[in-house]
Assembly symmetry: C2
Homo-oligomer: 341 residues x 2
């Protein structure tokens, strides 16, 4: 039996309205009154009923987070956990709460309906990865306050993203500058925007440096360790001298395949990953990689969403975070070796 505003009012000898003002930090309450009411609130551990507040004010302080199913595969990658943690942490700071929706295709209609029409959510963060996503489209069309993690290929919508193309380009260029010439890549799924963008960055880097794209040096992975392992096995017969791998988790798998095959890293082959995930510095050898911080992206997304919720209509915010090259020991500069000899 929870406590109500009315009871607090009775106990502190003021009206319901005044208690409401105290709870919501409105001005025009005498300091003395405020203190008296606050002490009753604290004593009884009063917490306003969110449902009632929502009904009356049209705001809930709750935001939705939609992440794709198939996370059990994707989740072997620490990307989502970090993202969730960032979002959750930022929500706590801003006094918001988070509802999590795992987007299972079978229940997609239910998800969309509840997201949109239940009146429970002030806004939604979507970490979709697919090129086409019906949820995004629905929410966008209905003007639900919305922030994406990762850019959208068509819609002019708010998003936070790393500059995947530029980062992949930088990574590939780094391999080229190390003197590598048979540069392979293990991509993410090409129907995911991040997978697509990183592959594009690889292609443009090759092009800019006068290399031709060799399809036998391209293997599509799925962002999992095992996917990286399999893709690397497929690439080994092509004898690449370096590989740009679209995330660190696949790089770990690739490393495993190379160790098994007796191919040394970086002496025989240079490896560069993507993410700078927690495991990268602990790989054997420590992994050169492109840094991105899903935790920070999550925080940024929350703050952006709250701005949107509060300020109503604004030009879409599209925040692109540059990714930084983290050089460790998995790449060997051929020039450097020549000099050393």
């Amino acid at each position: 039996m929870p406590i109500t505003l009315e009871e607090i009012a009775k106990l502190s000898g003021v009206s319901r309205s005044t208690v409401s003002r105290v709870v919501n930090g409105h001005e025009n309450v005498r300091e003395e009154t405020r203190k008296k009411v606050q002490s009753v609130i604290d004593e009884l551990n009063f917490q306003p009923n969110i449902a009632a507040r929502s009904l009356a004010a049209g705001k809930t302080g709750i935001m939705g987070l939609v992440i794709p199913a198939g996370v059990s595969a994707l989740f072997s990658d620490p990307y989502f956990p970090q993202l969730i943690q960032g979002i959750s942490s930022a929500c706590n700071k801003r006094d918001y709460s988070m509802m999590l929706w795992v987007d299972e295709p079978n229940y997609r209609l239910r998800t969309i309906r509840q997201l949109l029409y239940s009146g429970l959510l002030d806004g939604v963060i979507i970490s979709s990865m697919l090129m086409e996503d019906p949820i995004i489209k629905s929410l966008y069309e209905r003007h639900m306050p919305l922030v994406l993690i990762g850019r959208h290929p068509e819609l002019n919508v708010n998003y936070i993203d790393v500059n995947n193309q530029a980062a992949a380009n930088k990574a590939t260029s780094f391999l080229i500058n190390c003197g590598c010439s048979r540069i392979a890549t293990i991509t993410g799924p090409i129907n995911m925007i991040a997978g697509y963008d990183r592959y594009q960055g690889y292609c443009t880097a090759l092009d800019q440096h006068g290399f031709d794209l060799d399809n036998s040096l391209v293997a599509e992975g799925d962002f999992t360790e095992v996917g990286g392992y399999d893709a690397m096995k497929q690439l080994i017969p092509q004898k690449p001298d370096s590989v740009f791998i679209a995330n660190d988790t696949m790089a770990m798998g690739a490393l495993r395949a190379l160790h098994e095959a007796g191919i040394r890293v970086p002496e025989d082959i240079s490896i560069i990953g993507f993410d700078d995930s927690p495991i990268a510095p602990h790989a054997t050898p420590p992994l050169t990689t492109m840094r991105q911080s899903p935790y920070d992206m999550g925080c940024e997304a929350v703050n952006t969403l709250i701005e949107i919720i509060n300020n109503q209509v604004r030009p879409p915010q599209q925040i692109v975070i540059e990714s930084e090259l983290v050089i460790r020991e998995s790449c060997l500069s051929k020039e450097f070796v020549k000099e050393a000899i």
Copy 2:
């Protein structure tokens, strides 16, 4: 501007009450009326306002899920992602939604308050791992419908758990039966219940087979890959002939340390893990391990919680799932080798 019951009522020429009955599947509505109303509902994509429903009925169809912070460490393990997916999937099936609370110590008071007093949650699932958890205690004392993932050391509360002790015992006994005699272990954090229980199982197995506990063969890990790697490095000088490792993620790290040290698995040392995580069959060599399914535990937890919510007071449900030994190639039977020679 969402649609309301009243509007549906007007459009279908019945009263608000009748629409409510249709929406909630009550009986005593003429089939003809029901169809008429339903068609209007479908056409307008009507979704009842959860807040209003909650206020009026005292139920929301929302459950809370609390998982510990530090997940970014723990999340490198697929345990939580799978658990979340199981819970989410079961919620979808049962027409519930899930709010996720990452338990950050700094915001614990806020979490508890909102969990308990906001009136938004019909029940809570807690996947705490610590021996002492103030959140559990608060919710328990206030009679919030509650299911734990993992047993509680004191409280007589509903939970779903694997039989960690028995499973660890089985794993250790398996190593003994393979002819191993210097059996090491890499434990989880001992202040986590699962870590503690698995360690206990290891100890009792040793005891039952007449081995003494040798503390130099015990290394405490933290359930992460890197933790497993470090712990294994610490154990190698002790020259164990086998290791029981409290989860597969640490086992992957241990395997890495062993490869680096040139120690062959299983020829030189036998390794057994815990979880049968997705990566286990793909390890080098494929990992013998104890199977548990956090996905299924999540489903079970949801179903149990919904029962509790609906049936009010019941004796605490304590569901213990037996864990199954999955034999792969990371353990070698010494007997078998002798025979082979």
